[in-house]
Amino acid sequence: MSAQIEHAAGSAALLKCTGLDKRFGGVLALAQVGFSIKHGEIYGLIGPNGAGKTTLFNTLTGIYPCDSGGFTFAGAPLAGLRPDQIAARGIARTFQNIRLFGNLSALDNVMIGRHVRTGAGVFGAILRTRATLAEEAAIEKRALELLVYVGIAARANDVARQLPYGDQRRLEIARALATDPKLLALDEPAAGMNATETLELRKLLERIRADGTTILLIEHDMKLVMGLCDRVLVLDYGKKIAEGPPREVQRDPRVIAAYLGGVPAGGGEAA
């Protein structure tokens, strides 16, 4: 009920979410969640464990259907679309528990990300037409560029699951970027990273935004969220309890209460 007021007034909104409900049996995982993300923003999504952040991601990317309400992306509703169609519309994501194609090389992972923006079919592949060969070369070139972009070009031929943890996170971002997304949705990209790696990640995300991709970020690292995000949305028990610039949200008593103990951010979270 506290939700669904759109302050972005539509025009600049890339993603709009209104009255979103998601139920698992008797549990209301998301209740009347509403927000909107503007073009070029880095939008944070925070909240204690179990607040519904990943559920929101999964409904956004079509993995779960939502029970009521829904998303409008770049002016068109996303309701009823399959995950692959949503990726085709321009939303790419990473996963909280990294889901790379573990036994394939880093390069192959990113090349698979190009699938949705390319079109060679069975006959093209069998006949190796000139168009197919050109497309293949372009896929590989773009994939290598993306590996350079995220800083793991030296690992191109390494098997994905043998990469260090931080590199796997970067590879997942490169794979998502390969789909040419308008909105990049990252589910805890800094999880398990040390301070140096997190700093590098922050630079990478800032660069991605500067290059024109809007970012939706779930993150537990408060320092990262507060430093990076333009606005944040705070969820607790599936409800939106606050939204706004990090500094304001940080002082919101409801947010402090939600994070048990109420240590204002910067000192890490209790949940």
């Binding site: 194609f101 394939l104 592949a125």
Partner: protein, 354 residues
Amino acid sequence: MNLSAHPRAKWFGLALIALALIGLPFALASVGTAWVRIGNLAILFVFLSLGLNIVVGFAGLLDLGYVAFYAVGAYTYALLASPHFNLHLPFWVILPIGALVACAFGVLLGAPTLKLRGDYLAIVTLGFGEIVRIFLNNLSQPVNITNGPQGISRIDPFSFGSFSFSKNETIFGLMFSGPIKYYYILLAILLLAIVVNLRLQHSRIGRAWEAIREDETAARAMGIDTTRIKLLAFAMGASFGGIAGGMFAAIQGFISPESFVLVESIMVLSMVVLGGMGNIWGVVLGAVLLSFVPELLRYTVEPVQRYLFGRTFIEPEVIRMLLFGLALVLMMLYRPAGLLPSAVRKRELTKAAE
């Protein structure tokens, strides 16, 4: 791999292999014409294994009813080129038709099973194989389509005009028997199939299959239409089965539902697994081995026992199954990814041991 650094050595090797393949039927014929036929059946099994490899090896969908597509291809050929309906279309027209019909059956099987994974998919495909066989057995009434358990006989051989692949011929003083002529055309079609497989594997579609095999959820999130791509795997695999079936019907001249039992599906799957799922050359090796070794046993077990003991204690068939079981156990223990595993599959199967 390092061969590519020595192009000359590579070409020399290829030339040697080509020579061996060209000379092989004559070497086999000198042992006995039966061996040329065995060689031809081996080519068919390689063909079938390559098709099943697309479904099982590339896309990771366990299919235990693959022989159904083989049957569909064989019956398509038999019905269009035999006195049964008095149709006699040329083989180069029927083989593509057989591929298309089998492809349609592939989609028919694929569509309802898309949501199933692993064991469940295996059980449904197994059932599908049996359904097709039972249909073939019973579609003799009220309208006689398949001629039931009696099967269809006097199927036309391959022929170009008056050049028939079933007749003997002497060219340049060399005797080309029917099976030898078949050998060359089967080999040519097989080489084509291998090229098709290699190209598919290293393509956008091949990568999408790999992605689905590795992690279906992530594949979907990356924009891969898993429904379409899985159906494509079923359809491609089935087409290969259909073509192999057509060739089988032509060579044998007679087919009946008995040729398309579950054991055949399992045999083809064993070839794929033995050789190395996902690796085209491994699959070829697996199919050749499992085609020839049982025949070798058939020709050696009895004579050896007679020579040693004066009579036969163990039938070759028993020894065959015994060795087959032993080979399976040894493979699972020592080379779970196959004799020539694909690099990717090997990593998958050694994951647990890490």
